[in-house]
Point group: C2
């Protein structure tokens, strides 16, 4: 019998999808701007759709191969009964993630032109359009994740004790797609960006988004496939993996809470989706106001309503323990952490604060000092977040212990994670708003719109940069809080398979220590390969653009450059170069696990996760800070545009590009991929 | 009764000091070159001695304060009997390190002028002088370390069961001095270098080592205080800490090997010192030959003789177990690892191989791509070393297990570490050769010597760059192999204090996990502050040089710039800015240990160590690769000097400077400092 609570989850998801449909219908009926705007927008749309099509074809093939591997692993290790269901869950997870990503992008590339058109008359309207375009993504991605988990749970028998261990296949499918979506998209976006900048801005001396530059359209396509589809897949996976991890922990509490403890995560996330809908609808653009004000207000509304829902949800579902109030507190820790992470990210990447100003100052003595200072800031940004994560983990664990429930501490960290995840749909909305605004800005620029329209879009574009940085902070923060529960899900899984307790991962054991060392190394190696992939792909772009620039008609602006060719070259390069880093992080843990067994693999997993979290912070925040130091100088300080300081800051920005948009976000995915991979392939490691 | 073996150690050390004295007397009797050379050399000598005097005064004060802290910790935790001896050992360790560093530097700043003078007629002779100058340092530092440990052991009662736990105070004293010596020296050398380059090369467009640049002398002083005194203190500490750590492990084997197992480490190291003396004396400069050939031959001779001594030493001292042959194999693993690490470092930092060539290629499209590629190479350089360390640890552990001795596995890793340490004096010789050659090159340049003399010195200088990179590889390799035994020494110490077995550090325990997270973060934060300190200090230098450049007489070359003022400013800046990072890494583990107790601190220590090893590799190797990519372009490829590619490569080199000469080497020290600190303050954490 299907639990009544599951019906609530499904109902809320359907409402969310309905809201997304209404918003989409409304948006698509809006004006599509001037013919020149449409021309640019069409080129972006065609390019993005072509990339996505090819990328997901590649991913689909890889998914089928890996599904066979999963089936074989289960079949050959005597777990035949689970083989088909785990492999099927894997494919469903991968498919749901792909569908969510494709639909979200479909909307985004249609919203940019309407935002650009709205900017001709009103910046409030432009904010409304781009924000709602983002909302459609946020709602679809989150509800697809929740629906997928719920329906897979039902399809696999809805047995509260066994099913959670099978639906991890779903989470791994989502991780698998996210890895390649983020890597491929991240490589694409930055290769096009770096290539366009180096030949256009540096070598030929023409402005950004100049129509004569054949790489500009590829650059704008990149914003969609990297930021939009990539981060969408990332947070789709987060919700899936963390919900399922928490459900597995719930199994241990079955004697106390019954099925409530197992379904708690997805029910709360669906309530969070409801809260996000209210938050989204509360945002209303006002002409002349700072767009961040409206979006921040919406965020606080979402967080506040989520907190109420959380308290109510804990009372109804986990009220069986007299100490339930402590679970509420644990959830509040999670919500508070999400707010704290946004504030800290803002501090490190906004030009109102010391770090970005230090980098801008250092630009006066050249690119060398700009880079040194930026890297130093990046390393520094691990400090407060690590303390915040540590304190949140300890506090939510302590809360859980105070409930008096056995294993309550662990469940406390799960409740905190769920609390943080509740605002996910709203955060995704803010995130997708970024590339839409960025694209609309590009369209306005390339279509030669009047200055006042450009100014309106510049303001939105700047807000988009801020929200993109904030979302990365949120993504890494929620991943950090979740990892401890994912480790424990892995250990519960191993214990179930071996029939022996597994609760010690002894770093003083030389195998575990070596596993940990290799795990930390893998993170650095992966980042190296991801950054290198951008370099390599950018090289193809640079060569092609140089060839086209040799045509005097293109430079004179009398002949249209061949945008499609650059898009094609970037697509091929990105897909080719994503394979090595992707394959590496899938094969490495398998090799370690098979040769050194499950305890060493746990050490590998945990220390890789710690290193991954910190390196992602370094790469994301240094990249964001370099970017904003450049923008800060462009406001006129330190000599403004065209000054020596600005040239130095442009170099810093170029260095930061693959850090913050390729390697950093791919590390978010890596962390969760390692957790779901080890969970799914656990039978291999015993 | 003093063991006969200890007398051998002391005798070999006295022989080594005697050889150093003979070499020094011979060297000091050599020609001191032209008056112009002497003028430059005198300025360097005075500057270096002034810095060292002020630096060690600061360190001495800090040492006394900390000695009081140690005394108080032991006294107040009911370990009063050990309070005085541990604090005294700490002071003696600090003093020995300081004396060794000061004497080595005293020789180095007197060797540079004699090398410069020799280069007027013969490059073979110039190599002989600079190499022997390095040998004096190597012999003094190594024998002071061994003598210090032996005599402290005797002075504290030579009780094989208890004394090893007390003389860790000596190792901590050495670590303490090394931290500040390396940090202060590293900040000094790079602040002067970056400052000189930015105002001189970049802003004023005058060549490196130009007499008109007031920061040149400070730059040359920096080579002595950073590379020479800094790395000397680093390896002094390595020998001390690793010997004592291995002695503590020997205590557990006392029933089988008696006192032999405890004295084994220092006896083997003294035999290694003997082997190094033979290796040193085998090096003979030949006019026109590649200086690396002679030095490499000497290195292989040292390694080979060490291997023989090792086999003999194991047979005599550990022959009580029928499986002693396996300990010999474990030792060979260590010697092999030292060779492997040198080869790998060479691969990553020499322009004959792909990594440096990739960076040089990337320079063609500007500083941005140069930095991206260099950073990617740096991240990549963790791969092979981590695998090598992992395999060596597992292999030597396995060898130890095969001996059939209980706890033999652990002792196997200790024997491997000792094997690696045996060649220490020779490696230190090659290392100190570097700054001497560099300084001699500067003197030749600034004294306006003829071109042929410059060419002779350029060759030596290039070899010095290689040996400096290799030594860093060796230093981090030996530290990596040693950490596992140091952890176990900590755990043995805690077990001794609590009277309970302590052999599990459970990462699945949330306290341990959070400790591990904070430990990894500390490493990044420390690197950030170390790099920032260079930036800040360089800023003072830049301002002063700019002021002096405003004087037209200085720029015209008719008035001598005020070198002393820059030296003074750099000294003050370096000493001021070393305090924050230094204090941080001492206070952080104490806070974690006191609040979260010994198991969480063990997690902190282990994961900080893993992260520290990998980050040090990244920083050292990327810095080395950037430096050599610039030098490679200067040989004429990619347009050679003055090309755009060269300008880009100069920026990369500037970025790499604080990486490879400040933060990276300071991390070597940090790793061992954390280990000795936790050992000495163990009573606080229970």
């Amino acid at each position: 019998m299907i639990d009544f609570a599951l019906l609530i989850v499904i109902a809320i998801c359907i409402v969310a999808l309905g809201l997304a449909a209404i918003l989409a219908r409304n948006l698509l009926s809006q004006d599509e701007g001037t013919p020149k705007m449409r021309e640019v927008s069409d080129a972006i749309r065609v390019g993005a759709e072509a990339f996505i099509k090819r990328q997901y074809s590649t991913i689909a093939m890889l998914t089928i191969v890996f599904a066979v591997v999963i089936f074989a692993v289960y079949y050959l290790t005597g777990q035949g009964a689970l083989a088909l269901s785990t492999a099927a869950a894997f494919i469903v997870g991968a498919a749901c993630s792909a569908v969510a990503g494709v639909v979200a992008m479909w909307i985004a590339v249609r919203t940019n032109i309407r935002t650009a058109s709205a900017a001709q008359t009103s910046d409030g309207k432009a904010l409304d359009f781009s924000f709602r375009g983002g909302a459609i993504s946020g709602l679809i991605i989150t509800s697809m994740s929740l629906l997928g988990v719920s329906l897979t749970y039902i399809a696999l028998g809805a047995d509260p004790i066994h099913t959670p261990f099978v639906i991890i296949g779903f989470a791994f499918g989502a991780s698998f797609v996210a890895l390649f979506a983020q890597l491929g998209g991240g490589i694409y976006t930055k290769a096009a960006d770096v290539g366009a900048d180096i030949v256009g801005k540096v070598e030929a001396g023409i402005p950004e988004d100049d129509v004569r530059n054949p790489a500009t359209i590829a650059d704008l396509v990149g914003d969609n496939v990297g930021d939009c589809a990539g981060r969408g897949a990332d947070l789709f996976e987060s919700t899936a993996a963390e919900n399922i991890g928490a459900m597995i922990l719930g199994v241990a509490l079955f004697p106390i809470f019954g099925v409530n403890g197992i379904l708690f995560p997805i029910i709360m996330c669906s309530l969070g989706l409801l809260a996000s809908m209210i938050g989204i609808l509360s945002v209303k653009g006002v002409d002349g106001a700072d767009p961040m004000d409206a979006m921040n207000r919406g965020y606080y509304i979402t967080a506040l309503i989520s907190a109420f829902f959380l308290a109510g949800g804990v009372y109804y579902l986990l009220g069986a323990t007299p100490g339930w109030m402590y679970f509420v507190l644990a959830g509040f820790v999670g919500i508070a952490l999400s707010v704290a992470f946004l504030r800290v990210t803002l501090y490190y990447t906004d030009h109102h604060y010391r770090p970005v100003q230090d980098i801008a100052n250092a630009s006066e003595t050249g690119a060398g000092t700009n880079i040194i200072m930026g890297f130093s800031v990046g390393l520094e940004t691990t400090f407060v977040p690590a303390i915040l994560i540590g304190v949140s983990l300890l506090l939510s664990y302590w809360c859980g212990t105070m409930t008096g429930v056995p294993q309550g501490g662990l469940y406390g960290t799960a409740v905190a994670t769920i609390g943080m995840l509740m605002v996910c749909a709203y955060v995704l909305t803010m995130d997708t708003f970024g590339p839409i605004a960025d694209n609309a800005g590009g369209i306005v620029e390339m279509s030669g719109a009047p200055d006042e329209v450009r100014h309106r879009m510049d303001k939105l574009d700047a807000a988009g940069n801020t929200t993109k940085a904030l979302t990365k902070g949120y993504a890494i923060g929620s991943a950090s809080l979740a990892v401890f529960l994912l480790f424990n899900a892995y250990m519960a899984d191993i214990a179930k398979l071996t029939g022996k307790a597994f609760d010690i991962v002894n770093l003083a054991n030389i195998n575990v220590f070596v596993g940990a060392l290799i795990g930390a190394m893998l993170v650095f190696l992966f980042a190296s390969l991801a950054i290198r992939a951008v370099s390599k792909t950018a090289q193809y772009v640079i060569e092609e653009v140089r060839v086209q620039f040799r045509d005097p008609a293109i430079m004179a602006g009398t002949k249209k450059p061949d945008y499609a060719r650059v898009i094609d070259i970037t697509t091929q390069g990105a897909l080719k170069n994503m394979v090595l880093p992707g394959a590496l992080v899938i094969l490495f843990p398998i090799v370690i696990g098979v040769t050194m067994k499950y305890e060493a693999l746990a050490g590998f997993l945990m220390v890789a996760t710690i290193t991954g979290i910190l390196l992602a912070l370094i790469l994301n925040n240094s990249g964001g800070a370099w970017d904003n130091a450049k923008k800060y100088i462009e406001t006129g300080v330190h000599g403004g545009k065209k000054s020596e300081a600005h040239k130095a800051a442009v170099i810093g920005d170029t260095v930061g590009d693959p850090f913050k948009d390729t390697a950093g976000p791919s590390l978010h995915v890596l962390i969760k991929l390692l957790a779901t991979l080890t969970l799914v392939l656990a039978p291999l490691f015993i």
